[in-house]
């Protein structure tokens, strides 16, 4: 019985470790001072509608490709919208001229490099990839 219990505990811990590894959070370049932001403002930012940070500087949005599982979980869990709705909003703006598309990062590592090197940049990363040196996390409320 204790053996089963141990196995069960081990499974739970390893499973939560896996899901913990996929927990995406909003990450910004350190040129931005914000550490908290409303979910509504985050939706505006990633929907490419908000174009300026409160200090007036330009917002640069980075996303992973639509098919990346991390993109899917970020959009559903942090923005709490459907990925297809976000894509539709970008397309409507790009093809009617009323807005632009976000820049695409090819991988998590690429995203990290771009967020670190671009002033005003916002994107998302697994929590443990954020070291605070050039990028910090923004909490959504």
């Amino acid at each position: 019985m204790p053996k089963f219990l141990l196995l069960f505990l081990y499974l739970i811990i390893s499973l939560s470790a896996i899901s913990g590894g996929n927990d995406m959070v909003i990450a910004v370049n350190n040129s931005i001072t914000e550490t908290r932001m409303s979910r509504n403002f985050a939706r505006q930012l990633f929907g490419m509608k908000a174009r300026q940070w409160p200090d007036g500087s330009a917002i640069k949005v980075f996303v992973l490709p639509d098919k990346a599982p991390q993109h899917d979980s970020f959009v559903k869990e942090i923005l709490e919208i459907f990925p297809y709705s976000l894509r539709a909003a970008w397309d409507r703006q790009v093809y009617s001229g009323t807005g632009q598309a976000p820049s695409e990062a090819s991988s998590i590592e690429d995203m990290k490099a771009k967020l670190a090197s671009t002033s005003g940049a916002i994107g998302y990363l697994p929590k443990e990839k954020i070291d605070g040196a050039k990028i910090h996390m923004v909490e959504v409320y």
């Binding site: 979910r39 509504n40 505006q44 174009r51 330009a58 397309d91 001229g97």
Partner: protein, 398 residues
């Protein structure tokens, strides 16, 4: 020769499919270039729609466009698109400027934004019109014809003028308002839709206003919109013995609603369309009627790449004479079924890659009110009351 062509097309298609969805970004994404192209095939069991389709296949349904945008400042955007739209006899595909404007977001913040656009602008009526030519943003190969007419497409696409817009964002959602003032574009196909194939002069669009108010719930589940348009066109008679210089008035009100779930979307739109022709002289007495349109549409995403559509779409030229019987009784030769269209549509969308899409669609149609006049030069004596339409379409974007 045929086999070579097929092999070539197959190779081209597989190359496009394997290519990543690329877009051109310069200057850190401040300059972006995007575009799309699509090729359709249309076949009908009666009447012609987008080319010679009656018992034959028309390939004259093509859309090619390239756009560029430049964000000069966070609050200043320049954007333009050139489009070639081929649609049967109505549009020969000559490239033209679809939109070209500057967009100045005068105010912005966490509360939303407000600004002004100046130049040639897309007419944002209903849920789909601002990107009606982009197959990726449409629910189906053909938009519901009761509201997004092909037969008067040019008149509804874009206008030269000014657009004031504001978005207000709150915990309960986003409220957007837009006022567009300007002069719509026009072409022969829209002219003959108003006065028939024997038209001698031409119409010139006058000052037109468009107002839209839109609500979107915070997660985008619910979308509601109301659009009001006030359009006028002035007739320029041909010099010799033509109609008088009358005007065409069109003032539709469009109500739109959409519900978005994870795997399905339900959309409905209703339009009340009063229109009148006035001042054309004794050969064309003043007339006015209230048209009515609506559709209900469901899309279901069976798989992330595969979407099904079912829609019922109805259009009545005169809401007080829905079956057209009074019209038919008024004059010998008038046919009642030319005064309405009822269209059941089934569609399938397959996204091969994010950049490549294939579509198939079937329409079962009663009535001919949506027919493009130029595609059917023999006139109403040649019209079929009941007809089917099959469409296939391949589309690529970047």
């Amino acid at each position: 020769m045929m086999r070579l062509l097929i092999a070539y097309l197959g190779l081209l298609f597989s190359t496009i499919c394997s290519a990543p969805a690329w877009a051109l970004d310069f200057n850190d994404g401040a300059i972006q270039i995007h575009g799309f192209m699509s090729q359709g095939m249309v076949n009908t069991s009666g009447n012609n729609f987008l080319g010679k389709t009656n018992d034959s296949i028309s390939y004259d349904f093509r859309e090619i466009a390239v756009n560029a945008s430049y964000r000069a400042l966070p609050q200043l955007l320049f954007a333009g698109q050139v489009i070639s739209h081929t649609a049967g006899e109505s549009d020969n595909g000559d490239p033209n400027i679809d939109y070209a404007f500057m967009d100045w977001t005068a105010l912005s913040g966490e509360w939303g934004r407000a600004g002004v656009r100046l130049g040639r602008l897309k007419n944002a009526y209903g849920l789909y019109n601002s990107t009606r030519d982009v197959t990726f943003t449409r629910p189906s190969i053909l938009l519901p014809q009761s509201i997004y007419f092909e037969r008067t497409r040019k008149l509804s696409v874009s206008s030269d003028g000014i657009n004031l817009y504001a978005d207000y964002i709150n915990d309960w959602g986003t409220l957007s308002a837009e006022v567009a003032l300007g002069y719509p574009l026009n072409d022969k196909a829209s002219d003959v839709a108003l006065l028939g194939n024997n038209i001698r002069g031409s119409f010139e669009p006058a000052f037109t206003q468009l107002y839209q108010v839109k609500y979107e719930s915070p997660t985008g589940r619910y979308v509601f919109a109301t659009t009001v348009v006030n359009l006028k066109e002035d007739y320029k008679p041909a010099a010799d013995r033509d109609l008088n210089a009358g005007s065409f008035y069109f003032a539709p009100v469009i109500l739109s609603a959409q519900y978005n779930a994870e795997n399905w979307t339900l959309t409905g739109e209703y339009a009340f369309r009063p229109s009148s022709l006035k001042g054309f002289g004794p050969f064309l007495p003043d007339t006015s009627k209230d048209g009515e349109s609506y559709y209900l549409q469901g899309t279901y995403r069976v798989l992330p790449k595969l979407e099904m559509l079912v829609r019922y779409d109805a259009e009545f030229n005169d809401r007080n004479d829905r079956n057209g019987n009074a019209y038919a009784a008024a004059k010998k030769g008038n046919l009642n079924f030319t005064q309405y269209t009822k269209d059941w549509t089934l569609g399938l969308r397959y996204d091969v890659t994010p950049a490549v899409m294939l579509r198939a669609e079937y329409h079962n149609i009663e009535g001919t009110a949506i027919l493009p006049t130029l595609d059917n030069p023999l006139g109403i004596s040649s019209y079929d009351k009941n007809w089917d339409m099959w469409l296939l379409l391949a589309s690529y974007r970047f």
